[in-house]
């Protein structure tokens, strides 16, 4: 009986899809739990600290929270700060989704301290890395293959996003669009299951409530026409916010303030802003709700001021080392974009028949999110799911699609991926760069059976050539083993047919010593570029001046194809 059970388990394990689908539910539920824990903790901290923000000394609360967060992350856990999503994408791109176990809880605690104390950031990026790390470590525990592990990392991210926003489709779409970057049934089915599991955990523990109560909007042609204006404003604000975040990070890094104190500086500045404009503190969901309901009572100029202050507060919080994500600030800034645009239109065209400003707040949210993430589907589905605003789906699609496109032309990399792209570490599965990054020169190098000596006569070489199929021969020093140059049979052909030269010419006179060499640790993408630039079919691999072997284009192509098949999962 035990044997039969083992056989069944072996069959189950051998099917890549079945085991991933089974694990997906577990990963989704665990990441959903992590998201609920963060959500409840933030709620608790928000309630507990709310009254303190009204005191004069409440200004230091964000600084204290950010400092505690930095101490927890950098001193206690020795994990470097960051908003998490790029780390997950990096792990998926380069290391088959391997993530540290400590990442499954570190950002939950640190972001709780940062956001709960008033920092302007969102809880989504922390839950994404927590969920992804849970998925990665569960895959590691069950010794799953690399491709299965990547899918479970995606399942963790999907479960977490689905749980924190009570939005399963957003969890699925965000994971596939941003984290994995490939739409394949192998991924989509388990990720969908994980998203459902995460959502169910959230609904079980917190009730089935959407983040913002549903409103009904009537959309007409003027609204669709006006949505093009939202695209322009959202594009400008997305680009400015992205540059502010990057610029603020640059400023923080250039200062001589110790890394542990930097978040406190950002937090203090946010606290000071919060004295005059309390809207900028925390996630800002209350203000978003008011804007969607059309009850945000501040005037146009104040709304613009709040928008600018929220952008500054977000840049200060995240740029100076606070822990948190960009979703929630994008939602608030986006809703302000829509609201300001609507009020401005109503001011210059009082007779225009437009839907109410809550509808435009939704469009702004979708626009800004799509612009920042350059992920239009995530923007569309998130707004639809968290507001129940299916009425506005048509302008929502227009705004999301166009804003992400325009942002792409101005800033080719999204907020999450910018650093990775700048460092050349953004490698999507199945792409040329990714396939090459998974191969190493040392794996492809071919040993050469015949090494020539420099003092060898051409006659001796001809004897070797007669018995060889090679057309490239390395020349090495027989005593030290040092590499000296290469003989290209094609290039010395005239001498091969000149019998008078057989006893006169030596190999060192015929060899080419200026052929570029590569080292076993060189990146294959660079090696390939070198081959193309020099128009060579093969390059000598040299380590510590010693000849190791030859790397040929045909061997590279052969391994490239095999690796591509592995990555494609065929």
């Amino acid at each position: 009986m035990l044997k039969a059970a083992r056989r069944k388990w072996a069959v189950f394990r051998s099917d890549d899809r079945l085991i991933v689908i089974a694990m997906a539910g577990l990963v989704g539920a665990c990441s959903g739990l992590a998201a609920v824990a963060l959500n409840r903790s933030l709620h608790f901290m928000g309630t507990a600290l709310h009254t303190f923000h009204h005191h004069w000394w409440g200004v230091v609360l964000p600084a204290v929270g950010a400092t505690l967060s930095a101490i927890f992350l950098n001193v206690l856990l020795k994990e470097r700060a960051g908003h998490g999503v790029p780390e997950v994408v990096y792990a998926v791109s380069r290391y088959g989704g391997l993530l540290r176990f400590r990442s499954s809880y570190s950002r939950l605690v640190s972001s709780c301290l940062t956001i709960g104390s008033g920092g302007s950031a969102g809880p989504e990026a922390p839950v994404v890395i927590s969920g992804a790390a849970l998925g990665s470590n569960i895959a590691k525990f069950f010794s799953l293959k690399e491709r299965q592990r990547i899918t479970l990392v995606g399942c963790g991210a999907a479960g977490a996003i689905a749980s924190i926003f009570n939005a399963p489709i957003t969890g699925l779409v965000f994971t596939v669009e941003v984290i994995l970057g490939e739409w394949r049934s192998f991924n989509i089915i388990p990720i969908a299951i994980a998203a459902v599991a995460g959502t169910e955990v959230s609904r079980l523990l917190q009730g089935n409530q959407i983040v913002f109560p549903r409103q009904h909007y009537t959309i007409g042609l003027p609204d669709i026409a006006a949505s093009f204006g939202v695209v322009i404003v959202a594009t400008v604000v997305s680009v400015v916010l992205g540059r502010m975040l990057k610029g603020m990070h640059g400023v923080a890094m250039r200062t001589h303030i110790p890394p542990l104190v930097r978040p406190a500086v950002g937090g203090l500045a946010v606290g000071l802003l919060g004295i005059y404009l309390p809207f900028v503190l925390g996630e800002g969901y209350l203000s978003v709700q008011q804007m969607i309901q059309g009850t945000f009572s501040q005037g146009l100029l104040l709304a613009i001021l709040v928008m600018a202050a929220k952008m500054l507060a977000t840049a200060l919080t995240l740029g100076w080392g606070g822990s948190g994500g960009i979703f929630a600030p994008s939602l608030m800034i986006g809703s302000l974009v829509g609201l300001v645009y609507h009020r401005f239109l109503s001011w210059i065209m009082p007779t225009a028949i437009l839907s109410n400003e809550g509808c435009f707040a939704l469009l702004g949210m979708a626009g800004l999110l799509s612009g920042m993430l350059q992920a239009p589907l995530t923007g569309i589905f998130l707004v639809v799911e968290i507001t129940g605003g299916y009425d506005v789906i048509l302008p929502l699609i227009i705004v999301s699609a166009l804003t992400s496109t325009f942002c792409y032309y101005i800033e080719p990399a999204s907020y999450y991926l910018r650093d990775l792209i700048e460092r050349g570490q953004f490698l999507r599965p199945g792409t040329d760069a990714r396939v090459l990054s998974d191969l190493a020169v040392r794996e492809l190098v071919k040993e050469v059976p015949t090494l020539l000596r420099g003092d060898m006569l051409l006659r001796e070489f001809l004897t070797i050539l007669e018995q060889s199929k090679e057309h490239l021969f390395p020349v090495v020093d027989p005593h030290s083993g040092a590499y000296q140059g290469m003989i290209f049979v094609d290039r010395i052909r005239p001498f091969l047919f000149d019998r008078q030269m057989y006893g006169v010419l030596m190999i060192e006179q015929l060899m080419e010593s200026n052929v570029p060499t590569v080292a076993p640790d060189d990146e294959l993408s660079e090696v390939l570029s070198l081959m193309e630039h020099e128009d060579l079919e093969a390059l000598p691999v040299v380590e510590n001046r010693r000849f190791v072997g030859l790397l040929s284009k045909s061997t590279l192509l052969d391994h490239y194809r095999k690796e591509l098949i592995v990555q494609a999962g065929n």
């Binding site: 960051g82 790029p86 391997l98 540290r100 640790d521 380590e543 190791v548």
Partner: protein, 275 residues
Amino acid sequence: MTERLLHVFQNTPLGRESLLQSLHFCKTLGVDLHIYVPESKQFLMYFDHDMVQVDLNRSYLLSPESAVDHARQLADLFDVHVTFLVPKNYTAAQLPDIPTHYTYMCCPQSISDLSAKIGLGYVGPKVWRIAKSSTFPVFMTGRVYKPWTSITVCYTGSNNANKALRWGLHLGHNSGMPVELFTFMERHNAAYFDEQLRQAGLWDELGDRVSAWHKIDRGSFEEAFYAVGHDTLLVLGAYSHGLIKVLLFGSKTEKIQAWMPNSMLLVGPHCAVEV
């Protein structure tokens, strides 16, 4: 391809002793030396199925401006060519990813304060994880440089011990040094170990390549180790006991490391070598 040893350099007198031992290792075995001078207190190593974050203590970051010169001066004494490793990839923009495709890695004895328990050189969780995940054996240096003149394999009859024996024979072949076997017969008799060697296909190798086999069946585990030479490189398989057993009785490898002043080569389950 030439064998390569990765050494994480600590620019202190203790680190100098460790580097001297790595240099001796490389010189004796004809191994290329790759030195990493840490730029931050943490670095990551990504293996096929696991990743390990190594947390170094502050002493690893002392005087970075002189570290390369100090390492090079020592290498010149041994006439060993040194390559300095510069990380190409970073996790979370700040944590260097150290490549894992080496033949050996040196985890030097760190300072003996508590922080060493989460750093290199102590057979604690980190070194265990490196040894268990890597395809290379971990070279653990003694506190003071002492050239070894022979190789002693601690043979316990397990799969990992067979692997360790293969590595011992490999080192013996490359260095030309005599290889000895050491077995403490705690629960099995001599015939058991002979049979294990036959089953592993290593029995025939012993006659030619092993100069002595010390089979100790008396005294305690610690007493038995007096038979091991003072100037020998100890090669042992990573004992793969369960977590509870290790928690209750402690790890044998750690006992050996604490008891023996010799340099050690710890062979993990994924380390394979042709004999």
